[in-house]
Symmetry: none
Subunit: 226 residues, 4 copies
DNA sequence: TATGAATGAGACTTCATTCAT
DNA sequence: GATGAATGAAGTCTCATTCAT
């Protein structure tokens, strides 16, 4: 049940010694700072010096840990997105309740662990820079998109098998499930720019979305076009 | 049924003369080029000289028509996204069929006019640059987000009034309708990075999405959580 | 008794026809505009397009008459400064009164014909650009500085010969006479920046200066250092 | 008896190492270089890269110390012209001899500290750019023109009080005293363009000017116009 | 002849990266 | 290791000049 952000060193309360403090924690602090800034300002508009300052080190020190701005960005993506799906897959294996509940649970969990955290800015950022960082795009596809789709495929297949969902093309069905999450991630990280008003309650929307989706995928749903 | 892109001058086959004087056509050509490059490379990674070259003019000529890179971007947003909603609103007024058909029709029309064109890259771009260009964000909200939501609100209210949709919070319902379109726009403009495979058929997905949505919003839908 | 500015064509009252009006007057109008702008904004900060607009023609037309900005500047200096000293020399030949009156008269005349007109901005401009325009500097020295000094030398020599001025090195004396004029020209053209207050009355100062100078050069003046 | 220019670092004979770190010395070196180039070529014709090269650093380094070309110019004006008057005011307070000597002394001191140094090019430059940089003009008026006039006012009033000068409007009298200095500054910085010949001995002229001025302001001077 | 659209060299400025300390 | 002064390539924008109309 990992935190969606980074494991910060335990705060000892005392101000750390200036020069030689927590050397092994530096990369994490730099990535934390990079996440903040890349997500809120975009890749190009973020200066490496800002990242260093926010992490409490000098510009030169950043380059000791990451050989370039591009490598910093790649490391950030790898760091934030790695090893989430293994954990989630386990949770799915152990889930006992019906599919409607499972979908609701997934949306809730996603919100708690991703949507409500700074990590939710990354998908947007990765997609925006996909053309400039093909390597990152490939990594993202392999480490995030494919596992995410696998996970949802299993959920849908389980629902169909249990008679809780109507028969469907599971490949497209996964996107039906994932699209709202990606939408919410982007809505969040763009300051709600695609939402109708600033009071928009994203968790409530996700509940409505889950409910509507479950209704729409129910075996006995009415109203389909011929 | 306006084209979502610009009217290029008729291609006479001959390469345009050097230093040809085409004051009327220049802004459209430059915006067309800007759309191509901004959408595919991002705002910061696009150099104004590239835009000018793609439009077949020199760097200086671009600045004759747009006083800065930022103004070029604003003009692009205005040109591509403005004046679509008036037309759509008219179509809605004249629509006769039931709500399920209307929603399907909207998704189809959106795909034809936006999703399948280069214009579909703009929402992504605007959201990515929202923090750097608050003025553009405000403009986008006012000229695109708000009118779009208004349009969908009318569709939903019409459906509820006609007894074709269940009662709901129309404010959140609009986002249920719009989110898939925004998702598809971003999926398209990021090279399908959030889609499960390269053969993903977006129009087919939109049909499935419309169908599922209509089912989910139907008055007699089953399966809602307590 | 020439005007210190340019001879404009007689104003016929009727608005001139757009295209083919007063072609032979164009260079003069352009030089008039150039004087205005060069003097008030400096050489570099003046754009040729501004000059053309102020003269009522297009940028291209300016280049029909002057092959470059530098040549426009040279032509301006030549035009404004040419043929002033011949006239003044004649007036000097015919002057009858005593030297004190003559010096007062010279300062008055200078003020009327130069100091109070836009032409008084030129010395400043020429001196500021002397390093960038050695050719103009040489021309200015030959056509303005040398004749001006000659004229004043004759005045001083006449005064010494008539016993109205003490014996002196006439070469340095001329600079005593001319320095206040140059000072006033620069004070005027810099917006009074070297003057103690905005109400400074330059003609009154020149009268005081002439008076003080005459006293200081009088044969029986007291107070010299040992 | 402060030097009007900057204290350069001691020349060790060896060429400075590439990428040497000299944070303390840089601003002074850059201002020194800026003084040289601005004064000899004018503001617009001086490129910041030239300034940097003359100071032995790269273009980027200049912008490390001065955020823009305009700020460099302002800093130069402040540095060269500020803090001279406090010192001079003190000297004036302690002066014991008669007014004629004092005026001579002032001119001598001005020549030594300003006229004979590169600093004498600044007044000309500031006046030439006054229209383009109103902020600098205001600063110059407040920090240089006003204090300078104050100082001379005190000298004249002291002379009148001691019966060594005739009664006069002290406001205009100050300009009588200062005009020759400004004239000489401009003459120097324009390569002697307004002087009758290249052998013109400026200190000798200033002595003659002081002498003539003192005679002209003497209480018993003869020869005033009615 | 007159126009003004078009050009492109060149200016200022930024910032990722290097490296002496 | 850590620093931050220094670098210089690269970007935006200006404007004198050209030239098709």
């Amino acid at each position: 049940m990992g935190s969606p952000t980074f494991d910060l060193p335990p705060d000892t309360g005392a101000p750390p010694a200036r020069r030689s403090r927590r050397k092994q924690a530096r990369p994490g602090e730099l990535l934390e700072a990079a996440l903040d800034l890349f997500v809120s300002k975009g890749y190009a508009a973020t200066r490496v010096e800002e990242v260093a300052r926010l992490a409490g080190v000098s510009k030169g020190t950043l380059f000791l840990y990451f050989p370039s701005k591009q490598e910093l960005f790649k490391a950030l993506v790898r760091h934030v997105l790695a090893d989430r799906f293994a954990e989630w897959s386990l949770e799915l294996d152990n889930y006992q309740d019906d599919t409607a509940s499972l979908i609701h649970y997934c949306y809730e969990v996603w919100w708690t662990r991703i949507g409500a955290t700074k990590a939710c800015g990354l998908p947007h950022l990765v997609m925006a820079e996909a053309h400039n960082f093909p390597e990152i795009a490939a990594f993202y596809r392999q480490e995030v998109v494919v596992p995410g789709n696998r996970l949802v495929e299993r959920i849908l297949q389980r629902g169909i098998d249990r008679g809780e969902l109507r028969a469907m093309d599971v490949g497209y069905g996964t996107t039906l499930v994932l699209a709202p999450l990606i939408f919410c991630a982007i809505a969040q990280s763009s300051g709600g720019l695609c939402l109708p008003n600033p009071q928009f309650d994203v968790p409530a929307f996700l509940r409505l979305q889950a409910d509507t989706l479950v209704r729409g995928l129910a075996p006995d749903a009415q109203g389909a076009l011929p």
